[in-house]
Amino acid sequence: MKKQKISNWGKYPVVEANVFEITDELRAQKQVKEGAELIARGLGRSYGDSSLAETIVDVTGMDRFLAFDDETGVLKCEAGVSFSTILEFFVPKGWFLPVTPGTKFITVGGAIASDVHGKNHHKEVCFGNWVREMKILLASGETVLCSPIEKSDLFYATIGGMGLTGIILEAEFSLKKIETAFIKQEALPAENLDIVMRLFDESKEFTYSVAWIDCLAKGKNLGKSILFRGEHANLEDIKNTPFANTPLFYQNKGMLGVPFNFPSGSLNSLTIRLFNGFYYMMNKMKGSGITHLDPFFYPLDAIANWNRIYGKKGFLQYQFVLPLESSRDGMGEVLQAIAVEGRGSFLAVLKLFGKQESMISFPQEGYTLALDFPIMPGLLKFLKKLDEIVLKHGGRFYFTKDSRLDPETFKKGYPRLAEFLEIKKKYDPDGVFSSRQSKRLELT
C-alpha cells in the first residue's frame, strides 16, 4: 500500500501515512487486530496533529443512520456520519444538533473525541454532554458498549479523549427540537474588552453568544469586537419574512472555493487590519435580524478550503481558556502582546464558557480565545510568550487546535490527566491507539 501525504485543517504538520478506509465493523476489527499503532480520523478538521499517525483509520465511510426516535429526538448513527449530513436530513424534520462548532464538516466520532463546543456552551455544555451511549472498538479487537452507567470510565475518558481509548464506531445522542431553521440574531459592537465582557454577562440568558475580536486594535480600543447573540426563531418570529412558508428549509449548498494556496505571507498585518475594520463596520451596520442557521453557525463553511488563504505553509490555531477570575487580566495581556507584535490573527473568536465537569475535555468556566496565525518566521517563539501568559493565569489549551505545545505546558492545565491515562491503560494496555500529538505531548 502506498503511503499518502496527509495533514489536517491547519495544513501543518504534514505526515506520510498508511490510510485504511473502513466501512463496517468487521473491517475495523481486522485493522485493529493487525496490532500496528494507529489513530482514527474523520474529516480532518482538527487543526494540528491530533488525528495524524503512521497508520490512520479513516472512518468517514461508516456513515449510516441506525435509529431515530421522532418523539424524543434520540439519534443513533455510525461515527463517520457528518454534521452536515445530520443537518441535511434532520433540519427539514424539525431537529437540530444539540451542540455544534463553527464548521459542519466534522464527523460524530470526531465531535466526541474533541468534545466540541459551540456558541451555546454556557447553557448547553459540549457535544459529549448529549451523548447517551457509544460503541467502541478496543485495542483487543473487541467491541463494547459504554454509557454513563455501563463502563462509565471508558465513556467519560472517550469524550474529549482524542481517540486514544479506542475507535468510536457508533454513538447515540439527542437532537434538539426546532420550529424553524432560522435564528434571531443580534450583533452588538463593543469598543473594548471590558465592554465585550460585560455584554457576555448580559447575554447569559441567550442560547448562543460569541464575539469576533479585532486583534490589531490597541490602547483604549484593545479588545474591540462584535458580539453576536441569538435564539432559534419560532414560527411567529418569521411570520412576516420571506421564509414564512418554508420554515425548515435546509440545503447543503454548493460552496465557493479558494482555488489555490495564497502566497504565504499575503495575510500581513495590513490586510488583516483592513479585513477586521471592514468586518466591524459591516456588522455595526447590519445589526439585528433573522438569519438562516447556516450563516449563523457556519460562516466560513461557505468558502471551501478557506485554510488556503494562509498559503502553502499553513497556519496554527491557538486556543486557550482562562479561569473566570483571571480572564479579564489574562485576555488583556494576551491581546496586548498580539497588538504590540502586530501579528494579527485573521480570525479571533472570544467566548464565555459555562461550568463543565469533565475528565479531559477542554472547556472550563471562563473566557476562551481562538486565534489563527499564518506560519511565519518567529511565530513559534512568539507563541511561547503567549503560553507563558496563559499558564501564569491558570489557563489551558485545546488538543484539537494544537500542533506545537510542549508536554509540560499542556499537562499543567489538565488536573485529571493521570486518571485519564489510567483508563487508557486499562483498555489499551499495549498502546495501540496513538497519534503524533499524543506522542509529542508524551501521553502515549
Binding site: M1, K2, E21, T23, D24, E25, L26, R27, R64, F65, L66, A67, F68, E78, F89
Partner: protein, 243 residues
Amino acid sequence: MKYCLIIGAGSDVAKALAVEFAKGGFNLQLAGRNVEDIGKTAADLQIRYGVKVETLYLDVLKFETHPEFFSNLNPKPEVVVAAAGLLGDQKVTERDQSATLTVINTNFTGIVSLLNEAANYFQELGSGSIIGISSVAGDRGRMKNYIYGAAKAGFTAYLSGLRQRLSKKGVDVLSVQPGFINTKMLQGVETPKPLTAEPEQVAKMIYNGFRSKKHVIYTPGYWRIIMSVVKFIPERIFVKLDL
C-alpha cells in the same frame, strides 16, 4: 408500492445502488449473508428516505435454498439486482480447487440459480427488470484474474441470452460492465487512479441505465472503448503481454 431486491447487499456498489433506488421511491429487500451489517444499511435508508427496507438472509452458494428464498418473498419485487461477487485471489485459485469453485459459484452458478427463479416469475407476470452486475474482466481472460474473469464472462453470456428471451415477454435485462471501483473488493489491489470510479458514481449510472431501459452499459462509459481495444489485440501479441 414497488420493491427492488438486491442480492449481495453487503457490497459497496450494492449499498450505493440501494440509495439510488430508495431515492427513486422504491422499497427495498436487501439480501446477503452479513445480516447485521445489511440491517444497518436498511435502517439508514429508512431514516433518510422514508422507504420500507427488509433485511433477508441469503447465501448465494446454498443453491438448494434459492427456490424457497424466491417463493417466500412477499411482496414480490419488480426489480431484481444481482450484485454479489467475489474476486478471490488468482494465485490461490490456480492451485486450490475449492477456492476456484467458490469464485465460480459466487459469480456465476449461484447468481444464475437465483436469477432463473426471478426470470421465470417475471416472464409469467409479463413485466419486471433484472440488473446483473458483471465485469469488464469477463470481456477477455487475462492472467491476473481469469478465474474471476471466466465466471463473469459466463454471467455476461447468461444475461445476454436471458435478455433475448425475456425482451419478447416485456421483461428488461440490463448488463452492467464495471471497470475498477474503489470498493473493499479491491482493497489492497493497486489500480490506476484515473480509471478507478467511486461506487456512488457507478450506482448512479446503473440506476440511469435501468430507467432508460438500456441493454448493456459500461461504467464509466470509457471502459467500452478500453475493452474493445483489449479484445482487438491479436492473440499472438496478447500472449506476450502482461496486462
